[in-house]
């Protein structure tokens, strides 16, 4: 069978309207996630000039910031693309929900590393309040293992993004084979 593979991107060809729209949405989502992260950093470290706070956050958590932004952006782009094509990714809501939860979890834990930016700073206060919400033992574990847990959260986000990509790919393959079959039947 000499059929062209369907994908979001085809090298050497101009991007379709759907692809462009999906990409724009993905980039917008990445920017929003990064901006939200940065806003929280700036607001919770008032003792530092904003530029210093932002630079410091990128120094401490470059992977978390970049990774979550990229993963969320990719997920939004893919769901947008599939929606515009009329594909129905099974469990899409769960995927996006899990991805969003993973992003929030990963980001929240990564903020713990901002504690050393200020003696009696906002994050020391927030961590102080954790035991009343999740109990002393869970708080202790969250604080002690905040870095590996934040990376685990990032891995979850990336994992669900990969799952979304796999499902989209499968849907597109099914769709392509359906089109080919339709063409052959009508030949």
């Amino acid at each position: 069978m000499n059929q062209k593979k369907m994908s979001m991107f085809s090298l050497g060809k101009p991007l379709s309207f759907n692809t462009k729209r999906a990409l724009l949405k993905g980039i917008a989502a990445s920017v929003i996630v990064t901006a939200l992260y940065i806003t929280i950093v700036v607001v919770t470290t008032p003792n530092l000039p904003p530029a210093t706070a932002i630079a410091t956050a990128f120094t401490i958590n470059p992977l978390i910031i970049g990774g979550t932004a990229a993963a969320v952006g990719a997920q939004v782009a893919m769901t947008s693309y599939s929606k515009n094509l009329g594909c129905s990714l099974r469990g899409r809501k769960a995927l996006v929900g899990a991805g969003s939860s993973g992003t929030a979890f990963s980001s929240f834990l990564s903020f713990f590393s901002l504690v050393p930016l200020g003696c009696c700073g906002s994050w020391l206060l927030i961590l102080s309040l954790l035991p009343s919400v999740v109990g002393t033992s869970v708080s202790a574990a969250l604080i002690q293992y905040s870095i590996p847990l934040s990376y685990a959260g990032l891995a979850i986000v990336a994992g669900f993004t990969a799952l979304t990509a796999a499902k989209l790919r499968k849907e597109l393959k099914l769709r392509q084979s359906g089109i080919s079959k339709f063409k052959e039947d009508n030949r």
Binding site: N47, A94, P116, L117, C120, S122
Partner: protein, 371 residues
């Protein structure tokens, strides 16, 4: 199509949750946390939070350098009714660091793993009202006599920082006090200094052997905190600092622990490691003759080595501290235990102990011993 709106809904919910969290944090900070119940209602000991009207007039430092750390006043709560347990019931690890205090034979240990969540303990030791303070960021431990004009006052955390160091406030006049300077930097008492009290920072393994009768600050503080973990993580051992400091000096690594002494406007820093290695250091700071002694890991003490008008020189010999003039043997408490001087007692001197970056930020003209 309903099926197409589902994913968007999920994303919207996720982003909304994050947005709400951000708004709460912004409101918390912009509103100085005053709308939050914990900031306004009585604390567990019935104390009312003082309205935020701290007098920031009459400041001895530029007001724009006293910055908010984020939490409201008393957001990091001081311990005002400390409870103590005997050393054998303390449940500490040998490697835990404690701040040790001995006033008139009343010996107490304050684990840093508790202090890190409270930063100030208002206590009375040996009949003396004291404020035991700890700024984790600068690793500055300091004990002050909390008496102003003969009246005992309580200190709390102001939620503000000066030079990245804890700024306390007294609950009587609401003046702001720099922990590193031990001095009021704004408000009614601006410029006044608190009397420092000598203390030790020690490993629990050493302290419990030296002072088995010591009372230890209990984890039953009235506050639910995960005392077993340090929220600052590997900050203490990471060689870098992530925030700007007003004066940087590369003679030492920023987190090298130093002991700082002052006499008549002259400041001198000593590397704690050097004191530990030398065991005894005789020095002269603007005419004041001092000796630094370290016989146990992490523990260093400073004494005035002028006794009854005679200046003594000390050396470390065969595991003992000996004075050159009479060959008398002295113990870590600064007392002569053998020889001609037996029964004599050196006067212990308070000093600052903390990271180099903090000492040099507050005392940019400091000299460094042996440099």
């Amino acid at each position: 199509m309903p099926g197409q709106t589902k994913p968007r809904k999920g994303l919207v919910i996720g982003v909304s949750i994050a947005g709400i969290a951000a708004i709460i944090i912004i409101a918390l900070l912009v509103g100085n946390g005053n709308f939050l119940p914990f900031a306004q209602s009585p604390s567990s000991d019935g104390r009312q939070t003082i309205p935020s009207s701290t007098g920031t007039t009459n400041s001895i430092v530029p007001l724009d350098q006293i910055v908010s750390g984020g939490p409201p006043r008393d957001g990091i709560p001081s311990i005002d009714n400390p409870k103590f347990v005997p050393a054998k019931d303390a449940g500490l690890q040998d490697s835990d660091l404690i701040l040790g205090l001995n006033i008139n034979g009343d010996i107490r240990a304050y684990p840093l793993k508790i202090l890190v969540w409270h930063e100030i303990v208002n206590d009375e030791v040996g009949g003396t009202p004291v404020a035991v303070t700890y700024c984790p960021l600068c690793f500055t431990n300091q004990v002050f006599k909390r008496t102003i004009d003969g009246q005992a006052v309580e200190f709390g955390t102001s939620g503000k920082l000066y030079n990245s160091n804890l700024v306390m406030y007294d609950r009587t006049s609401e003046s702001l006090w720099s922990q590193a300077l031990g001095q009021a930097i704004a408000g009614e008492h601006s410029g006044r200094k608190l009397e420092r009290i000598p203390f030790d920072v020690a490993f629990w393994s050493e302290w419990k052997v030296l002072y088995p009768e010591s009372q230890v600050l209990s984890q039953d503080t009235g506050f639910g905190r995960p005392y077993g973990v340090d929220p600052y993580g590997n900050y203490y051992t990471d060689p870098d600092i992530l925030f700007p400091v007003s004066h940087r000096d590369d003679r030492l690594g920023p987190k090298e622990i130093v002991v700082g002494l002052e006499n008549e406007g002259s400041y001198r820093a000593y590397r704690l490691q050097q004191i530990e290695d030398s065991h005894v250091i005789n020095d002269d700071i603007s005419g004041k003759k001092i000796v630094l002694i370290s016989l146990h890991p992490f523990m260093a003490r400073a004494y005035d080595r002028t006794l009854d008008g005679q200046v003594l020189d000390f050396r470390y010999h065969d595991g003992k501290v000996v004075d050159t003039q009479t060959s008398s043997i002295w113990n870590f408490e600064g007392g002569a235990i053998e020889g001609e001087m037996k029964g004599k007692q050196l006067t212990r001197l308070p000093f600052d102990e903390g990271f180099w970056f903090e000492w040099v930020a507050f005392h940019p003209d400091t000299s460094l011993y042996n440099q």
